[in-house]
Every structure is written in structure tokens, then in C-alpha cells.
């Protein structure tokens, strides 16, 4: 009798399944959510405020309105240069990364003994610490004693001065970065393995050769992976920093002055946190715009295979 009365007074409002699931959902994602709000959303909002100020970290920020943005677009030739460098790098690197990544994935999708070893070998470089492999490549690119020019010499070619030549430095960085192609390769490989063999069998019955099968079956069904790698590639290349910071420090003659490297200089060498925040926001909006354009057009070229089809 007693227990019944307590039960009535402490009755928890009856939740339906939907509400209980919702609570469980938010409970489960709360560690991420809290982290996101504290460490990303907070700083993002703060950085927008700082982009409207002049701030050197040590003295309190001075509000300057849109001045940082005006300066970025009208009075800073180096910022424009750094944007051009980054854009060229993105336009060249992303397609190369996709082509090499897909080619490697196709090769490594064979059913061979020990294929796991090869997959590991090709994926490994993209796990390595950025600085370690950049330093190694700097030695390979050394004009006098480096591996690359020594090999070219055997072939009778006088190699360029690579990282020391403004005409070649960016190309050298692209070659260096292509070593990390395993990142996109592994996503293509996952996509390839998800294509049901039955589709290839059907295509074979219809008389398709390998070429047909690639263009009519493999490629269309890989478009989600392509979309992912495209967007990811663009975001990553717009943020290129480590390679240029270590290998060239933006030189020679600013030929590898990437946007984020310039941003870093402004922020941490010249202590212009406000200006650097403005640069970050401009880059953010550019990358967001690129991403949105790709998303909005993706309906025309990306095919999703629904379950049970």
C-alpha cells in the first residue's frame, strides 16, 4: 500500500518510444557535442569577433570594423599571391590525386596472394608524420646530391634545382604530396569492394569487355567515393601548410607561399591575430562555397545504389 502511494507521487512522466530514443541519442552523442561547442563553435564565434579587431595577443583587442577585410582585398598583394599559389596547387593536385588514387585502388583490388602487403605499403606514407617525410623528400630533391637528380643524371638529364627554383618549387611540393595518395586510394578501394560481383557477371553475360565494365559499372558506382575524395581533397589542399612550412618556408621568392602559411605568419610571427582571423574566415567562405557548388551539382553525376536494389 505504502509502496503504491510512493509510486504514484514519484511517477515519471510516461515517455513514448520516440522520446526515449531521442534522449538516448543526445546522451550518446553528448561527448562529441560538448567538445564541438567548447573547442570548435566557441573559437569559431570568437574568431569572427577577432576578425573585426586588431589584436596582438598581449594587449586587449581594438575594434576596427571591416578594416581587416578591406586590407585583405585591397592592400595586401602577398595575400593575393598566396591565394593564387594555393589555387594552382589545388587545381593540379586534386585531379592528380584522384587519378593516381583510383589507378592504385584498381591495381590493389585484384585477388592476389599477399595483396594485403601491397595495400599496406601504398597506404603507409599517408600515415607518416608530415615533417619526417618532408625532410626526407628535401634530401631527395637536393640539387647536388639528391636521389632524384642523381638518377636524372644517369639518364643524361640535368635536373632542375627543385625547391630552390621558383619555377619548380611548387611542382616539387606536388610530387612530394602525391606520395600521400594512399589516403584517397583507401577510400576508392573501399568503394570498389562494395560493388557486387553480380553486376560484373551480368555485364559479362551482356558481352561487356573490361573497358566497358570499367566505364559502365565501376565508375558510376564509384561516384560517391569520387565525390567524397573531391571534397576532401579540396578542403585539405586549401589548408596546405606543413609541406611548405618545412620544405621551403614559402620561398623561393614566395613561389610556395600558401594561404595558410601566410596566415600563420601573420598570426604567430607578426602577431596580427585579427587580420589572421579575417583571413581564416575568407578562406572558410571560399571553401564552403566550393563545397556547396560541388554538392549542388553532385545530384547530376553521383549515383547511389540503394539497399535491396
Amino acid at each position: 500500500m505504502n509502496s503504491t502511494s510512493i509510486k504514484t507521487s514519484l511517477r515519471i512522466p510516461r515517455l513514448n518510444l520516440r522520446q526515449r530514443e531521442a534522449i538516448l541519442f543526445y546522451l550518446c552523442i553528448s561527448p562529441w557535442l560538448i567538445g564541438f561547442v567548447l573547442f570548435y563553435l566557441g573559437p569559431i564565434i570568437a574568431s569572427f569577433y577577432f576578425s573585426l579587431t586588431e589584436w596582438d595577443l598581449l594587449t586587449s583587442p581594438q575594434f576596427v570594423g571591416m578594416d581587416n577585410y578591406v586590407r585583405l582585398f585591397t592592400r595586401d598583394a602577398l595575400a593575393l599571391k598566396s591565394f593564387k599559389v594555393t589555387l594552382v596547387y589545388t587545381l593540379v593536385y586534386v585531379p592528380l590525386d584522384m587519378i593516381f588514387g583510383l589507378s592504385l585502388a584498381l591495381l590493389l583490388n585484384q585477388k592476389l596472394r599477399g595483396i594485403g602487403v601491397f595495400r599496406t605499403v601504398y597506404y603507409l606514407p599517408s600515415v607518416l608524420s608530415g615533417v619526417a617525410y618532408v625532410v626526407m623528400w628535401m634530401w631527395m630533391f637536393n640539387p647536388q646530391y639528391g636521389l632524384i637528380n642523381t638518377l636524372l643524371k644517369y639518364a643524361g638529364i640535368q635536373g632542375p634545382r627543385w625547391l630552390l627554383d621558383p619555377k619548380w618549387a611548387l611542382s616539387a611540393l606536388i610530387i612530394m604530396s602525391l606520395w600521400g595518395v594512399g589516403r584517397s586510394m583507401i577510400i576508392f578501394l573501399a568503394g570498389l569492394q562494395d560493388i557486387p560481383t553480380v553486376l560484373y557477371e551480368v555485364a559479362e553475360i551482356d558481352g561487356a569487355n573490361r573497358w566497358n565494365k570499367f566505364w559502365k559499372v565501376t565508375l558510376p558506382l564509384l561516384t560517391p567515393s569520387l565525390l567524397f575524395n573531391l571534397i576532401f581533397g579540396i578542403i585539405l589542399t586549401f589548408q596546405t601548410f606543413t609541406n611548405a612550412f618545412v620544405a621551403t618556408n614559402g620561398g623561393p621568392l614566395d613561389s610556395t607561399l600558401f594561404y595558410v602559411l601566410y596566415l600563420y605568419r601573420k598570426a604567430f610571427e607578426h602577431l596580427q591575430m585579427g587580420y589572421a582571423s579575417a583571413m581564416a574566415w575568407v578562406l572558410f567562405l571560399i571553401v564552403l562555397a566550393c563545397t556547396l557548388v560541388i554538392f549542388l551539382t553532385s545530384g547530376k553525376w553521383v549515383f547511389y545504389r540503394s539497399i535491396g536494389e
Binding site: 625547391l163 567515393s225 620561398g251
Partner: protein, 472 residues
Amino acid sequence: MKKYLRFTYMFVVVAILAAFVGGCAQASTPLPPEIVTIEKTVEVQVEKIITQVVEVINEVIVTPTPQPTAEGSKIILRVGTGDSGEGLNPHQQIIAEFEKQNPDILVQLEAVSGNDYYTRLLTQIAAGDAPDIIQIGDDAVPMFVSKGGFLPLDDFINGNYPLDTSIYLPGTLDPGKYQGAQYFLPKDFSPLAVYYNKKIFDEYNVAYPTDDWTWDDFLKTAQELTKDVDGDGQTDIWGAQLSANWTSGFEYWVAAAGGSLISPDGMSYVGYMDSPETIKAVQFYSDLYNKYKVAPPPADFNLWAGGNPEFESGKAAMRLFGRWPQTGLLSNPNVDLGTVEVPAGDVKANVLFWGGFGIFSGSENPEAAWRFLKYYVGAEGSEIWKLHGIPPVAAVAESAGMTTDPIEGAWIRGLDFLAPRAYVSTDYWGETGDPALRRALETVLIDPNADVTQVMQTAAQEAQAALDEKLK
């Protein structure tokens, strides 16, 4: 399915965009930018999850000293240094000695190595939580002091625990001054000098250089030692290894030509960076590489342009540089080392590289900090510094025989000819003059046919425009 996937992609993309914008606003989370930890959880159609991580570039070492157990009355001092590895040993020895003699004070050494040292200091100073005693390099002095990060030391120097500043080697106090007041005391320093490899000199029967040599002698010696040994048309032994586009090191050449890069009042590059003296220095430097071809071509254009291996591997007879690699060179089997002062151009000149300690303006125990600082880089501390380098206290250096030492002597004698570095004249050298000079040096090194006069005029105008923008 389609909808779900789109959502997933969008989600991942937004998260990553957010991560990088967030990374730029470090107000609440002062993560050093080089510690790039990228964690991507990528959900693809097959729902394979690939986690890829890991880039930790800098390491942070904090050496804790034992905490006071019962004595809560002890003053705890924190010391910040950018030294690392074996370079921390002398710090720890001096701290141990000091604590023995001053039982009321405990000293904790905080070592942060790598590029993040200043960034970390700035955030610590901004948060009011910096070490009590902080080590700073020469060209960072104006920035830190002008922002109010440090206490002037003059009252301490003449206060309860006075310090006789005449004990220091000539020129070593100046980099610690800002607008006439002393903010830092010297810890270590290096002017420039020329290393030479006696093996190569002996082999080709060339006389060792002497302190009274000139640019002409330098060139002649370098030419005599530039050799194509196997007759294949390629140089095998180089006369002198130089430091490519290292701008602060290049200031020596300008000073020795009798010029300077900026007006003493810090207002003008035009008339200085493009003066006949500066042009003469750039021309001679460029000629050493391009016309006389006595210097091995640069191996990199990085900060110190330190990638050339020729001198260390016994393929270059001389190297003009600071004292930093000396210990390694002394034990290098390819090199029988000698040192000599830098050659005189139209005038005899040298430039100083320097590190010193100051007291954080927010220190809660400034007097205790001063007592330690005075010990740290005074006569007592120098007795330990001398085991690891040249101590800044003249009497200690002398009693250790360094002033007359055939190797160390050149570094001390070089102190008598110091010209002020450009950063002393303007707080904005790092973002105005330095990049312009760097571009100019790269231009003449890349293009042997570049017109040096024109290159320096462009550089002066670029630097002036950047400076005017800052001073507006």
C-alpha cells in the same frame, strides 16, 4: 539511403571546416598550430571506418623540481627556456647550486623546444601565467618589451641585491636593452666568424687566414681552395660555404661594407637598403656564388639556409657562420678546425646573435626572481655556463682561458667590432625589411644576371611601403 549519405558527408565536411576555422581562433584553446592532430572519421558506403591520425611535431618537456613538502613558505620560481636536450643540463646544475645556497627558493625549469616557444610564451603572458624568468632571443626583445611583458631591471641592478654590469663582455648587454633601459641579462651569444678546415689548407699549401684579413684576402684564399680534383669540370672542393638567404647573417656583409639596412631612427629603408654600400655588399656576396663560384650553390632557402653539407663533409675549406655547430665540428673527423674573425670590408664589423633572461612583468616574486637571475647569468652561474660555451662574464671567460684559446678566441675578439642589427632600429623589421631583403638575396642567388642595383632599389621601396603602412 541517399539522404542519409548526403547527411553524413555534409556532417563530415562541416566538422572539418569547423575544425580549421576553430584552429585559427586560439583565444580559448591555445593549441600550438604545428601540433596538427587530424582525426577523420570517414563513413563511406560500405560503412568502413578509417581512422587516420597523428602528427605531433613538437614535444613539450617539463622538468618538475621536487615540490616543497612541509615548508609551504618557500617561494617557487618558474624559469622558461627554449633550450632542449643536453642544453638543459647547465640550467639544472645552476638551479641545484642556487637552491642549496638559497633554501627559501625553489626553482622549476620549464623547457619548450621548437618554434612554439614564443607562441606559448605569448599566450602565457596574455593569460598572466608566464614563468617568472624567461629566456628570449635578440630580435624578439623589442616585441616582448614594447607589449609590456617584462620588468625593467635598472632598479634591481642598483637595489638591495646590486649587480655590477661592467662584469660582462663588451656588447653583450646591449641586445637586452630597449629604449635605454636594461630588460635582459645575457645568457649566451655568438658573433660571426670564419671556420676553416686546416686539412684542406695544408693539402693545397695555403696559409691559414689571420684576424687582419680583408674581403680581398678572403676571396683570394677561397679561389685558391676551389678545386676540381678529378678534372670532370665540376668543383669538388669549395673555397667558402656561405648561408644563402640568411638575412640576419647577411647584415654582417652590409656592416662591413660600411652600410646599414635602415636609418638609425627606424623610419627609412630608402637611402639605406639601396645605398652604394649595401649594393656593394650584395654584389660581392652574389659574386662569391655566381662570378667567382667559390661558394657551393645553396642547398635550401630555409630560415638559416643551413642545409649545405660541404664544410662538415670536408668539401669546403671555410664557412662563415656563428658558434652553434662548433662542438660538432671539433669532433668531426673530416675537419681539423680553426677559427678566425670575419674579414674586414671597407670597415671591420661583426653582428651579434644573442639570448638572455628577463623577469616577467606579472611575476609575483620579482625580488626573488632577480636574486635568481643575478646568480643564473652572473659570476656564479657563469662558472657552469663556461663548461658548455662562452660565459658572458668576462672574468670567468678569461680565467677559463677562452680569450686566448685558439678556437674560442675569435668569438670573443669579434665582440669589439659589433654593428647594431636592423631590428634594433624598428619594431617592424621582421615584417617589413626582412622579407624584402630575403627576396632580394634569393633573386640575386637564383639569377646570376640580375642587376643588383635595381634589385636593391626594388627591395628598399617594398620595405619602405610596408613600413609606411605600419607607421600610418
